[in-house]
Amino acid sequence: MNIHEYQAKQLFKAHGVPVPGGGAATTEREARALIQEHGPAVVIKAQVHAGGRGKGRIVKRDRASRMYNYLAREPERNEGQIAGRRRGGVRIASGVEEALKEFRPMMDQDSRLVSVQTGPDGAPISAVLIEQQTSIAKEFYFSIQVDGANGQPLIVASAEGGQSIEAVNKKNPRAVLRVPVDPVEGYPAFRGRSLASQLGLPSPAIRPAGEMFANLYRVFTEMDATLVEVNPFVLTSEGTVMAIDGKVGLDDNASFRHGGYEEWRDRSQENPTEIEAEEANIGSYIKLDGNIGCVVNGAGLAMATMDTLKLYGGEPANFLDIGTVNRKDRVIEALRIIVNDPDVKVIFINIFGGLARVDIVAEGVVDAVTELNIQQPLVVRLNGSNVEEGRRVLHDSGIDIQTSDELGDAAELAVEAAKSGKRRTRSNN
């Protein structure tokens, strides 16, 4: 789960990481107060979860998809600017009126931030972060993430900050430092000082930088974060260090020890159908561009199902991992999401039961056909736990369903049905 930059900075501040003076505003009144307190020279930053914000553009909702295409086609000519005519997601201003001129279009209900990462709808702007401008001597990169292969936290740092670390790594891999963290020792300040020295920070900045790194590590562990990234942190002209940007990813699996992360979560940044799927306790749902609606158990099999459909010339309308199904209402909820997608021409159900019981899935499918008045052709492939009972349930229902025991065969049936564009015939019982 991602959180906003202003929230990341609240966490930083609470853990003793220096950040610029400022705060988040949603109304003009709040914005004015922040500018008066921290101005006159301020930075104004749109708060969205998507990346590429600075180079993205603030536009009216009805122009979002056109701007998205421009950005994809000719990025240099269309990218947002920090000052000047093309309004990006990060702006600078001097004085209350000039700053409010930047604030208003960002906080307008009708505005969207469009970047190469938002998709054609753009992202709604949840708040605007207003901060004091910092005079920068040099920019650096710092992040903590999880190194899965080694099962340890990994710190990545570079003296070439303020740009994408992937780009730095490509250009000059030696400019990127990788420091594995011993989780038993944690990350004491002396390790931080040693890293600060390796990064070439001047001597008076070594102690505060070391403390900043150690404190960021505390954010990482105390918050159950999967990522803490500061790009850039800077050496100011006054010789101190400061986190100018902040990105924190939280581990959804650990939300049970953080009150569900409710105070950090912003549902307006999430896809409504994906929220609906989550509330129905469905493992995972992602909308895609095709017309074959998929209901599958297990992430691996769900991906493999999409792969198979594509190999037979079909296009999946979604990725849906229903998780472990031991209640038929879960099947009905999953099918409700699929049926409500106007792009879906065929429904393909592929369940290989291990923990999941296939007979319960079959009962759910049969109930859903009536309850949701499903019109689209149904292709059902069941296998695994209680498969005989499952097949009997489908057969005895008398509902017009195409079935197959094998993945390839079933996928072919679904692709054919999508191409023929036929509707399901009514049941004959």
Partner: protein
């Protein structure tokens, strides 16, 4: 008797909720030797009974191991307590720990991996279907037993349901399995694919291996490096997620495309260069393995005396 399990495996179960009980009944039906359970609410040898099977339940793993010489643990405990249970098994020096649980926090797994280093235990999972070995009738997990058949092909996969899918195709193609291992879909797991490949390479009961990977992470590249360096047995590989849109997380916490190394193309290229036979379609894993076995003269028709 192939890898990890054998007919001397003595299973200890943790997580005796409804689902754990269901699963353990199916393992007992399959023929697995379950010797004990652990439940903190139990004291000294209260019994769990099912059909004509009966085994004692203890309050701690140490006590259960002492009393029953259990040498393998299966964990069905819900996510908030899963890491604690794994740590308890490491402390009790259980040689093989299998954790099915989905949704274990990644920081918990950092602690587990630290405890595993230098310990006497090996961990499979979490977020995996477990291990099954048809010849010794040993089911340590959540597999649908009917699709499995004893034979000479090993299976290793990050995804659970894809183990079933691949095995179903193998069995239909007349190919039995030596041992099937789901290593788990999380970013931090116990044994990774290359460690399982090494076990299969050294196992006289395995003639070839199916390797099922997915997008995200670098585990398949590590597996490819091992295949290139040390593997003489044929490997058939499939990578799920070739058509997944970049940047989206597809269920498994480990399956995020991070840069080019995480893509299916990069993984397939590494595996192909290492000499693995690629099955582009997930529906052709069985037929590809059949061809590979026949070419190697290792295809054993089912029912043939062996």
């Amino acid at each position: 008797m192939s890898i990890l399990l054998n007919n001397r495996t003595r299973l200890l179960i943790q997580g005796l909720g409804n689902e754990g009980q269901n699963q353990i009944r199916r393992s007992l039906d399959y023929g697995t030797k379950v010797v004990a359970g652990v439940h903190p609410g139990f004291r000294g040898g209260e019994n769990f009974a099912y059909a004509n099977h009966i085994f004692p339940v203890y309050a701690t793993v140490t006590e259960a191991v002492e009393k029953t010489q259990a040498n393998c643990s299966i964990i069905y405990v819900p996510a908030p307590g899963a890491a604690d249970t794994i740590l308890e098994n490491i402390a009790a020096e259980v040689p093989l720990i299998v954790c099915i649980t989905e949704g274990v926090p990644v920081h918990d797994m950092i602690r587990v991996r630290t405890a595993l280093a230098g310990s006497k235990s090996k961990l499979i999972g979490p977020n995996c279907p477990g291990i099954i070995q048809p010849a010794s009738k040993c089911r340590v997990g959540i597999h649908p037993p009917d699709v499995f058949m004893a034979g000479n092909v090993g299976v290793v996969s990050r995804s659970g349901t894809l183990v079933y899918e691949a095995v179903d195709q193998l069995t239909r193609a007349g190919i039995g399995q030596s041992t099937c291992v789901g290593v788990g879909g999380d970013p931090i797991i116990g044994e990774q694919q290359q460690a399982i490949l090494r076990r299969f390479q050294n196992d006289p009961d395995t003639d070839a291996v199916v390797l099922i990977g997915e997008i995200g992470g670098l585990a398949e590249q590590a597996a490819a490096a091992y295949i290139k360096r040390s593997m003489t047995k044929p490997v058939v590989a499939f990578i799920a997620g070739a058509t997944a849109p970049p940047g989206r997380r597809m269920g498994h916490a480990g399956a995020i495309i991070e840069g080019e190394a995480g893509t299916a193309e990069a993984k397939l290229a590494a595996l192909e260069a290492a000499g693995a036979v690629i099955s582009r379609s997930p529906a052709e894993i069985g037929s590809t393995m059949r061809r590979v076995l026949e070419e190697a003269g290792k295809y054993q028709a089912p029912g043939a005396a062996g």
